[in-house]
Symmetry: C2
Subunit: 329 residues, 2 copies
């Protein structure tokens, strides 16, 4: 057993991370490459990044000792349904020298597993988008939201950014002066926080600037909201409270009242120590007072743990989780 | 004075309407052509529709008797700022045989004037989008919303359609059966109101169907909401109430509390006898109990009246309004 190695990958839109771990939690290799999502990057480009991350992680590893692997991936279902994508990933896996099988799981499951080893629980993720999922026996079961910026993602980075602009436009419509958040949004979008003598000219400039770009870029304004809320800016504070309520409502669509199973928070907006994360924790504690709330950690290590726990020599996956998946700093 | 004729045009995205009227309100010609908005159709195509509508309206008219004209147009400011667009409209005007000058006004002002001759008041328009404007001396003054579907249009047809889909998705996320409105939305989008054995498959199909189309097409679902609300469907009823509150809030951004100036309701969602129009009237009566609320009528006739009232022989524009602009049926 001591020679057994498992590999985990966390494949995201902007980076691909790979890690090789022993069953005592020793990190024998790690690698990082560019975004590797086959849906957004194309199957071949994604497989190239996968291979680069794997090669780096396996540089000092006897690949014959690798017994299992897991790839965590947003839109995993689409990869599994796409023969070309699956073939490209198979090739990358073999080219890295690996002969063991691998599993593909959704990034929401991997985020959950990075926060808790419990087979059943809930994961709530807020980054550019927002999604919640029930986990049953470490598989994704029911899912809520994740419907994209046009129809969903309530409480996400996109949502925070869009609402910040909407509040600014309403303020300008009323002929009032924007507060600190509104001025920060103006400066970010227009390069100046001055309102024109005819406020409608500023309104038109804001609308035109936003609508010229892909809508999802509104998520780039979310850090302004989070920062302003930390400084007790009132508009930002109300948006964070509203966003947190949306996220808790999303979790409530799939998580039973009174559940004491763990809740894991994932995504850039909830894993950092932000006012939104604090507000979400407060909402969750109000709805599920007896449930532990965890923060997602190292996704690649969690993917490796998901691979390891099905090996016959693993008898205590919970202890293995403590060894392999480090808690967040 | 008896020989004087004025011309009005109401130029919209789907139709262009022209009317020729005497100063006693006699309708001596009318015409209709396709959409003539230069922003969406291009200046030359728009001018072609303008000319077709004008030619029809002037078929039995001595064009030398036409003393004034007004064109009502969404995005009038953009036309005035566009030399090519203005030149194309000038050419159409001359080709129709007209030698008098013409004015261009925003469609919101023309909607206002079709409902009231009072120089000062408020117009609130809800169709695919939503906008409110203060009118001062029969010119548009301050404007609220009209920010487009991504950032505004709260309470509009787009908004009602999008919210209907969001409510449906939340219901499916919760594993509940959609009500009558949700089933109507499913039937419209997917051709069947059956929910798949795995509801997430239906969720994905709805999201994919909507996101494949231009977002603004969500407005095509608004009639389902209005119809369901008329049948007391509870989800539709709450959406209509929420939309009406948004529209009243939009008006409140620019209209002073306690104002007794007229309020004119325009746009397809507010000029028809719909539950939304009734809910908006109730909201407006609550906020401005002493203000008359009117419904927008014939925009082309109102444009003609706006042209006529500046003629030296017109001494009583209010009486002329009663003669020229028929009240809505």
């Amino acid at each position: 057993m001591s020679g057994t190695i498992v590999v985990g990958l966390d494949v995201g839109g902007t980076s691909t991370r790979a890690v090789a771990l022993t069953l005592t939690g020793e990190r024998v290799g790690s690698g990082r490459a560019g975004g590797g999502n086959p849906t957004t990057h194309g199957a071949d480009a994604a497989a190239t990044q996968l291979l680069a991350a794997l090669n780096a992680a396996l540089a000092d590893v006897d690949t014959a000792a690798v017994r299992a692997g897991t790839i965590g991936l947003a839109g995993a279902g689409r990869l599994l349904a796409d023969p070309d994508g699956r073939a490209a990933f198979d090739r990358a896996w073999r080219e890295a020298g690996l002969r063991c099988p691998y599993a593909v799981h959704g990034d929401a499951l991997v985020a959950y597993a990075s926060g808790s080893p419990a087979p059943d629980g809930t994961v709530l993720v807020a980054g550019t988008g927002a999604i919640a999922a029930q986990v049953r026996d470490l598989r994704l079961d029911r899912v809520a939201d994740g419907h994209g910026w046009l129809l969903g993602d309530a409480g996400s980075g996109f949502w925070l950014g869009r609402e910040a602009v909407r509040r600014l436009l309403a303020t300008l419509d009323r002929g009032e002066h924007p507060g600190p958040l509104g001025r920060a949004v103006l400066a970010e979008l227009l390069g100046t926080d001055e309102v024109a003598a005819r406020p409608r000219a500023t309104v038109d400039a804001v609308v035109q600037t936003v609508t010229r770009r892909p809508p999802v870029e509104l998520a780039r304004l979310a850090p302004l909201v989070v920062t302003a809320a930390a400084e007790h800016e009132p508009v930002a504070g109300s948006l964070v409270a509203e966003g947190a309520a949306h996220l808790a409502e999303t979790a409530g669509r799939i998580r039973p009242a009174g559940s004491t199973e763990p809740l894991v928070l994932g995504g850039g907006l909830l894993t950092a120590d932000t006012p939104l994360a604090a507000a979400v924790r407060a909402e969750l504690a109000r709805r599920w007072p007896d449930a532990p709330v965890r923060t997602a950690g190292d996704g690649a290590a969690a993917a490796a743990w998901l691979a390891a726990r099905d090996l016959p020599e693993v008898t205590d996956p919970t202890t293995l989780h403590a060894l392999m998946v480090r808690p967040p700093a």
